[in-house]
């Protein structure tokens, strides 16, 4: 599992290097390597402590996360009009919303494994919904729609595994369908435009649609075999925006082609299935839920990010796990892999 993850990271760092050389962010690949090191350390750390201990600390972790999220809203710096980061030493910034993903995986796992029944009742659904809803609301206020949706996806998969009744699921879906138009009015203007542009990118070819159009051109121009490292015109001439963060997969697709994408997706699929395997062999229900939480989170990220690059998903700021440039995301993915490893290590007990 580690080997697969490292292989993906290596491809990511290579692509970050290729997309940023000769630009002011040319040191990004080095920073990413440092973060990879940090991520591995965090993974090792999280694999050492028995995850049952972590589960017992969920209330503390949950409280800390809420505190940090509130702090972000209260004291964070505005960058590009939203508050997502807490400044740390040496100009590093920390995104508490990433920590939140980890904690919510643990929270859902603990809550569901404590249930006495295999069926979820309304009360359980409501409690779980509120528990996830509070941090999700805080993140939405930053505003960060993408991360909010990942929280909801963990909740959804948790409910699914916790044994939701079909009738309840149907009612929740119905409520969601009714609430969706209301939610529309709560979205920030830029989020509305993004959704509208997803439906019709030519709506605004210079504004929000620009990213998607350029990304599609980049992917398409890559063809079967790709343009070669550092040869993609979309990436190199900087037509493709943020080619080393959110759209790193478009840059990769342009330079390595469909074959490259096939290899990359193969790696991701392998990683995912290994995590699922760990879930099947987990010593107890909590371990299984942790593994499934992590795998569904990764799948959701992959779906949204890779889908957005080809215009099949709306543009949100969700990074591609292990590949996109960014320390907080890197750390949180490795921390989650650490949890999975943790579950695997306890397997012998069962």
């Amino acid at each position: 599992m580690l080997l697969v993850a490292l292989a993906i990271c290596a491809l990511g760092i290579l692509q970050i290097y290729s997309a940023t050389h000769g630009t002011p962010s040319r040191n990004a690949w080095m920073k990413q390597t440092v973060w990879l090191g940090g991520g591995l350390f965090l993974m090792w750390l999280l694999a050492r402590v028995d995850y049952h201990n972590l589960l017992s600390q969920v209330p503390v972790l949950y409280g800390t996360t809420l505190g940090l999220l509130t702090l972000t809203l209260a004291a964070g710096n505005y960058i590009w009009g939203s508050k997502r980061w807490i400044p740390l030493f040496f100009g590093f910034r920390f995104q508490p919303a990433e920590l939140g993903k980890l904690v919510i995986v643990l929270l859902v796992a603990r809550y569901l494994s404590e249930l006495r029944s295999d069926r979820l009742e309304w009360g359980d659904l409501l409690k779980l919904g509120v528990l996830v809803g509070i941090p999700a609301g805080l993140v939405l206020a930053e505003p960060d729609l993408g991360t909010t949706l990942t929280y909801v996806s963990i909740l959804a998969i948790g409910i699914f595994f916790g044994g939701v009744r079909w009738r309840h699921a149907l009612v929740i879906l119905l409520i969601a369908v009714v609430l969706l138009p209301c939610g529309w009015f709560l979205l920030k203007d830029y989020q509305k435009t993004r959704l509208l542009t997803f439906l019709d990118p030519m709506r605004d070819p210079t504004g929000s649609g620009y990213q998607v159009i350029q990304s599609k051109i980049a992917v398409g121009a890559g063809g079967m075999w790709g343009k070669g490292v550092a040869r993609g015109s979309q990436t190199q001439l900087r037509f493709l925006p943020v080619a080393y963060t959110d759209f790193v997969i478009s840059a990769f697709a342009e330079e390595h082609g469909f074959v490259g994408i096939l290899v990359l997706f193969g790696l991701y699929f392998l990683l995912l299935m290994q995590i699922v395997q760990n879930a099947q062999r987990a010593p107890d229900r909590a371990g299984m839920l942790i593994c499934m939480g992590v795998s569904s989170l990764l799948l959701f990220h992959l779906l949204v990010n890779a889908g957005m690059a080809v215009g099949r998903m709306p543009t949100t700021g969700i990074p591609l796990p292990l590949m996109s440039y960014g320390g907080s995301s890197m750390m949180s993915v490795f921390a989650m892999l650490g949890l999975v490893n943790n579950v695997r290590l306890r397997r012998s007990v069962a």
Binding site: S25, D50, H52, L55, S56, N77, Y78, I79, W80, G81, S82, R110, E114, I157, P205, T206, Q214, I217, A218, V219, G220, G222, G223, M224, S233, Q234, L237, R238, F239, P241, V242, A253, F258, I261, L262, F265, F269, L272, M273, V276, A279, Q280, R281, A282, P283, D284, R285, A286, M288, M292, S295, L299, L302, L303, A306, G307, V310, G311, R312, A350
Partner: protein, 636 residues
Amino acid sequence: MSSIPEDREHEAPKVSHFLRNDTYYGAVQIAIFQYVSVAVFVFLLAGYWDLQVRNESLYNTKALQNQIKSLPMPAPRGRILDREGRVIVDNHASYRLVLSRENLREEHVEPIARGLDLDADDLEALVRRFDRRPSYYTIPIKEELTAAELAFVEAHRNAQMFPEMELIKSQFRLYPQDGFASHLSGYVGEISDAELNSPEWASHSPGDLIGKMGVERYNNESLTGIDGQRQVRVDNRMNTREVLGVKPAVAGKDLRLTIDLDLQTVAELAMEGRKGAVVAIVPATGEVLAFVSTPGYDPNHFVGRIKPQEWKALTEDPHKPLFNRALQSQLAPGSTFKPIVALAALESGAIDENFSVHCNGGATFFGRYFKCHKKGGHGTVSLHKGLAQSCDVYFYNVGLRAGIDTIAKYAEMVGYGRKTGIDLPGEKEGVVPSSAWKIRTFREKWYEGETVSVAIGQGATTVTPLQMAYAYSGLVNKGVWMRPHVVDDGRKPQVDHTAVINPANLGKVLDGMCGVVNEGGTGAAARLPDIVLCGKTGSAQRASNDFLKTKQGEEEFKDDAWFVGFASRDNPEIVVAALFENGVHGNFAAPIVRDVVKAYYDKKSRQKQPAPAPNLAAWLTPGKPAPAAEPGTRPR
């Protein structure tokens, strides 16, 4: 069950009591998840297959041609008009030089800066600020190109030299010259880094011009238009292959003010060469007819980037030309406070209308001697005479009878000590001292002796010129304070607050103010032949008597002159407050108010025959009288 096995259970691995060990429990769901995963991967791969294999050549061609050049079409900012639609702030056509980032080469930045006499480091910093923006954003680097600069651009704008340079026709802000109404209009300037990161300005990009002060700032949203864009796709030889789209610019909305340009002009002229402020308000609506703060500054210097030396000169000027005195200058109101003290005493029953005092030039309270401004004294002083002659001794007694907290209550009733809520940024609230205020601020008890000073508008009391006009507008309006505003948005005037005042008491006070002007009182200089102008003078000390003795004759420690007036007595249509800093005596501020009120009634009587258009050109920069003039000819 005995308790022993339970204890053992607790010894077992921690927290296991809540875990369930049924590992087969999720098998079905896991299988479903695996199928879903496969579906997701197939879905994604289909997307990439569709683009990369099925449509490879299509996207390949697009990428080859993908040299999009986007040229902004700047939207003109809305003009600022007076209440009759006459232009106060206009635009004129000019050329703006932008750098197209789609073909910007870093090594070109330095020679371009040299050719245009710009600082190369500044320009590089500006270019870097755009790094994270999509490449269709252009970098505005110079506004209002001169003929020489235009020549440089035309000569070097080709594929071999600097293809990134683009000339854009734009509208450039044009303000009246010599700081006319500058504190009202405010100015536009380049957005700062701090502003760019705040959510309020999130939709702006570096180099944008935004309203920074005054009306420009407060109404930035409606004044700003939406920039258009023309996007062309050029091939690698820089020939236009296709016009991708034109998004027309949407001009900003013109903004109509409540200001009357004629009255504003009269007030500006009256204040010429003086430090201070004039605010004229229509009491029935809260409309501001004139809003002057002098000295002003030339807003034209701010448009685009203000030169550092000019900024330094403005900020270091001892007369503080950037300080908006009309709503930020917090000074002691002096004797203009007396009518409010009188009203407080009458309304609270501390005195009745027959209360009188003997003034022989001063009086002793709490062991200290307080002078009256008239050396020989006023003799027997009634309420009317006390106001008309502004007798200090009379008001020392009235103030002490009313007490500090009653005075404070009525001062707050007229709107002192808080913002009026005018639609201009940066308003200050002033201070209304009271016993509670003293404990809050200094953690000390109020001393009765301090009430003596407050009763004549000294002590800790401070107000702004705007507050003063506002306070009296509500009084002459019989206790209804209308929200003051400078923008005429066509909506009904808003009532800010109301107070129940005994009409008899209010009448006595306002009659006293008539005596100030029309019965040989302290404000006789404001008298007009045909109109009953009433008012109150104020001469406010800047520091304590003892301190002032050491500073005798120094300009900046001379008393501030105030006058607040309204007309007419029976039908108050206008309230004017004037502050003349270091003007020594309120009687010297009175003519300022008189001139504005006279202009108001002169205009009203002229209104039957159409008034000739005012000679606006006199206020516009010479050499650029009309907005249609050719760009690049403006003298620098």
